[in-house]
Symmetry: C2
Subunit: 348 residues, 2 copies
Amino acid sequence: MSSPTRTTPRTTRPPVKLIDVAAAASVAPMTVSRVLNTPERVAAATAQRVREAIDRLGYVPNLIAGGLSSRRTRMVAAIVPTMAHPMFVALVQNFTDALRARGYEVMLSLSGYGDVDEATLVRAVLARRPDALLLTGTSHDAPTRQMLADAAIPVVEIFEVTRRPIDMLVGVDHAAVGAAVAAYFRARGHSHFAVFAAADPRAQTRGSAFAAAARRAGGTVLAEAIAPAPSTIAAGRAALRDLLPRLTPPAEAPVALFCSSDLLAFGALVEARVHAIAVPQRLAVCGFGDFELGAAADPPFTTVSVESAQVGQQAATFLLERLAATPEAPVTARRVIAPYRIIERGSS
Amino acid sequence: MSSPTRTTPRTTRPPVKLIDVAAAASVAPMTVSRVLNTPERVAAATAQRVREAIDRLGYVPNLIAGGLSSRRTRMVAAIVPTMAHPMFVALVQNFTDALRARGYEVMLSLSGYGDVDEATLVRAVLARRPDALLLTGTSHDAPTRQMLADAAIPVVEIFEVTRRPIDMLVGVDHAAVGAAVAAYFRARGHSHFAVFAAADPRAQTRGSAFAAAARRAGGTVLAEAIAPAPSTIAAGRAALRDLLPRLTPPAEAPVALFCSSDLLAFGALVEARVHAIAVPQRLAVCGFGDFELGAAADPPFTTVSVESAQVGQQAATFLLERLAATPEAPVTARRVIAPYRIIERGSS
DNA sequence: GTGAAAGCGCTAACAG
DNA sequence: CTGTTAGCGCTTTCAC
């Protein structure tokens, strides 16, 4: 499927530099720099002349050089496990938008679930000297913590809670989510429970908390299935197949199922329909993440929503506050826990 | 939902630089640089000593400084419209993995569909001096093309075809896809057609080509609906509601529907089920993208697969080849068209 | 195999 | 409001 064509790059004219613009506009290099970075400190007429030269020459500033000199790269790094999960997509999109509006570009790194060593990744990221960093999760090993401390940049951890964050935090209390879903099911009279959770730390926290709360309340936990991370619909279907014997006659009580992701929940519901298991009469289902799938499928299903878009927005705001801080006006390290809510939709 | 805590960064020790490592290992700075970049040119014993110093001091190289000096930042930029679409997720994941394995970090920029000016975005990206660039699509305005030419870096365009690519290309022939789906439906005896296409250039190309091919073959095109980009399940449901009058009695012929995304297709199928429209008897459906949803839903539905993971892999390979090229061993600009195939699953 | 000198392209800091 | 002088922390290039 290949077809060779040309062998050399296009017309190569020597790269235009800031001094070239300065010469063309008959000003000092520093004046060009000011036009680019602090235009309010340049006379309007001068700025105008410089801008014309910039346009005429097609000058694209070299932020690598600028970054070395000013020690500010105008890049913010973000490390998230995957983009295969709509929550991270919304998060990153909002984080990126908020930062771009303020002149920062986001360097996004995907860490996967366990396949990449975190310290190695963080080192590669910090080597590019980002001005700030967003990190998913709060469990980081000692070398990672040391590197982050040495880097001395604002760090915001997201999507988990911890007593001792590295710096700032926009957390989600997954244990509380799991317990809340258990309480919700209990309030609706359920006594038999099951949980499908993906093999990622946050999903496991939700799942364990759910099971623990269910047991604590005297309930029976029929199954605690672990699915590969990231979650898939197929994994939800498979897990429900394994649960089938507990759901079909002569099984007595209805089962309340909590899935760590809406993809798992959707898979479970598909499989339930295939096997003609009545939802929510014999099987009540609650997912997590509030994906479009849960609202637009028929029937729509119950889920837990955490405003991941707001988490991204909030994380960006925290970082921007700190980046704008001065010695005279320091900014406190901020920590918030993002709210969640159960969205009831008839599968429970 | 806030709780202030600390106001200053952690223990700040002065940043460790390459000369500090050199001093600690009693070698010249240049030797440390060689240990990092060309270890084979350093005596094993010396390298060992340097590595110990690096570890002991917790030295993290400054690639900004290195990049300025060597004019190689070891960053590759990628501009894609969205991550809300599984095709782009798979693409980016594979592109990133392939490049990271060779020491490059990917700078990902989301361009959206029309909300961000491409030239502005490309300027911001090029200002960071990436070593190479991946661009989605092949329609770029003159300023953008000029900037790319001046940047003189390898560029790979993806997901479209064109006679005159900027440089390298890993294309997808969307017009061919649309025509192929029309031919597929025709071969199964259909004469009445409809298409739901999102308002992005590639989806529109697929949709128009489908409608044109259907008409050329003497068929009737009942509807050409345009949905917002990126696609959603809800938009598919809404579009099918509008199509309903053509599907319910006294409508005579079955309708063959092509959707520009599996999300639209799934939405259409959900709505069809709600209205008890027999699939594929009265409504045959084919999606695009081969999302997991299409295979794992019940019933599974027909779709068109393009190996977006391979496109990402291939694009990375092309760029890496060129980045490794030398004046003595130049590398041709490569162009390929990625294959597609219709995956038949019973909704058609 | 190792080192010394000279920038890379920009901005901080200080003058004027 | 504008200019001058020194670097930022590395790597290139050329010696040894």
